[in-house]
């Protein structure tokens, strides 16, 4: 039982990170039908930038705030420099552009930062809390709490503010949104900014637990993508549920089978969803098989 609980704790912790990555996918997908494979790089930028700003002598909170701001700037730049100029191109083309962008960002990170693994100090110590014989790191509570705040803030934004409603309206009917006077290009830019911010926050929160490096984004994007399609592409609730499920499946697989298969779990989930459940658990739009 203690063992199961231990795997479960580590599962929901990484799952919360996957959920945030999946939310990033969802927001951009809803604004543009583009699956942004540079989503993982936002997480990496959040983590790596915090690490380097902290070691440059900045206090941790300031380093984090700046790291998130820099990730947002990168997200906006990605939209302005790579997605906007290709407006009118097919969705597949745009997705390939995001894959290119993710490779470019990884390369740049290698130059700007380095090729080492890095970590941040845990925000409130490393003394584990024991629950039912299993140890829970205080940083895991930061990750879970952070994910909860992100989810609640997004829920408020999309259902209570006019701008959030305008973003949903644009996702549902772009033509009608334009005729209502909504600037749909601004909506797209905002979706990149929001996704980048969420990714960076996830990166900052999880770095004390999992370490980070210039190439950490690729695997995170893959797992976030698995989470997003498991939940149903386009569904925010699905992204959260999918993230937690992928995280738990991965932790159980690693714990009970072999940690060698940890990363294979996400691949298996992607294949199973594409074959048997193309609309995902929450009935988002079906992902076309290209």
């Amino acid at each position: 039982m203690a063992e199961f609980l231990q795997f479960f704790f580590s599962g929901i912790t990484v799952g919360a990170v996957y959920a945030m990555v999946a939310l990033g996918f969802t927001i951009i997908y809803n604004a543009s039908e583009v699956i942004n494979f540079a989503q993982g790089e936002f997480v990496m930028i959040g983590g790596m930038t915090s690490v380097f700003l902290l070691s440059a002598g900045l206090p941790l909170p300031l380093a984090i705030a700046l790291a998130v701001a820099i990730a947002v700037a990168v997200g906006i730049a990605l939209n302005v420099l790579a997605i906007e100029p290709a407006r009118g191109a097919s969705v597949v083309t745009l997705i390939i552009i995001t894959i290119g962008a993710s490779i470019l960002l990884r390369g740049l990170a290698q130059i700007v930062f380095d090729r080492q693994f890095h970590t941040l100090p845990a925000f409130s110590g490393e003394t584990p809390i024991t629950i039912g014989g299993a140890a829970l790191q205080p940083q895991a509570l930061w990750v879970l709490g952070g994910a909860l705040v992100v989810v609640l803030a997004l829920g408020w934004f999309f259902t209570r503010t006019l701008m959030g409603k305008a973003m949903r309206a644009t996702a549902h009917n772009r033509l009608a949104a334009q005729l209502a006077g909504i600037n749909v290009r601004f909506v797209l830019m905002l979706s990149f900014a929001l996704s980048a911010a969420i990714g960076a926050v996830a990166g900052v929160l999880v770095t004390p637990i999992t370490l980070t490096s210039y190439d950490a984004g690729a695997m995170l994007a893959l797992k976030g993508f698995a989470a997003a399609i498991l939940g149903g592409m386009g569904s925010a609730a699905g992204a959260v549920a999918g993230g937690l499920l992928v995280g738990i499946a991965e932790a159980m697989g690693a714990g009970y089978i072999s940690s060698d298969y940890k990363d294979a779990v996400a691949f298996v989930i992607i294949l199973l969803v594409l074959f048997f459940l193309p609309r995902g658990l929450f009935g988002g739009k079906s992902v076309e098989r290209v």
């Binding site: 006019l162 334009q178 209502a180 006077g181």
Partner: protein
């Protein structure tokens, strides 16, 4: 002239949908545009709103050239459109649809304007919390019109507001359209129901395969033999 269109052309790929359209609408007029399926009526309205690019010609609104202006700027200038097929935001509530109609407006007037639309269409007030997609066709049309009015337009473009509606509802909708004009709004109404449209309009244009082929006072068009034969089914 509030709206002056000259030599307007527009294409879908290689297909030319507008082949040099000229028309003018004065402030306070209700002008009808009639024409058969595929004549280019929707394309013309989409080009006026900027959601379909013009490939040539010009659109002047209140004396300013707006041919290349982005859609949301045109809404700010006072051009609102009720699109073909209603296009309400289905999963969102009736009230959210209306508030989004006022997206470009000032925060101070929204509540009063909302009440005004609820007074005009009481059914929308009853259904204010309901998802727009669950309304009947006629109610969705009312919502689409009310949403456009929330932008406080000077020029209202309506694309076949009677499409698919029962005759009684059609009458109600067209009576409402006429009342906008009586309140001083400028209205450009596209209809396949040529008789109904020309009956309430001041002037009319007849469109065929991307061109204006006839225009004049609505009364004269109603009496015109060619129009009668082609569009009025008499």
């Amino acid at each position: 002239m509030l709206l002056e269109v000259q030599g307007l052309t527009s294409h879908y790929g290689r297909i030319q949908a507008l082949k040099g359209v000229d028309l003018a609408i004065a402030e306070g007029e209700l002008v009808a545009l009639v024409g058969a399926n595929g004549a280019g009526k929707t394309t013309l309205l989409r080009t006026l709103s900027g959601v379909q690019p013009a490939t040539g010609g010009s659109i002047a609104y209140a004396g300013c050239d707006i041919t290349r202006l982005v859609p949301h700027r045109r809404v700010r200038l006072g051009i609102a459109q009720v699109p073909e097929g209603r296009q309400v935001f289905g999963p969102m509530s009736v009230e959210d649809n209306l508030r989004l109609g006022a997206f470009t407006g000032s925060r101070q007037t929204v509540e009063a304007d909302l009440e005004a639309q609820y007074t005009r269409f009481p059914i929308l007030k009853e259904r204010r919390a309901q998802a727009a997609g669950t309304l009947s066709g006629g109610q969705q049309q009312m919502l689409a019109i009310a949403r456009a009015l929330m932008a406080r337009p000077k020029l209202l473009l309506l694309d076949e507001p009677s499409m698919g509606l029962a005759p009684l509802i059609t009458q109600q909708i067209l009576a409402a359209v006429r009342s906008f004009r009586d309140d001083g709004m400028t209205v450009f109404l596209v209809e396949q129901n040529a008789f109904a449209a020309l009956t309430i309009a001041d002037r009319g244009y007849v469109m065929e395969t991307g061109r204006i082929v006839l225009h004049g006072p609505a009364r004269d068009l109603l009496a015109d033999d060619d129009v009668k034969r082609a569009y009025l089914g008499v």
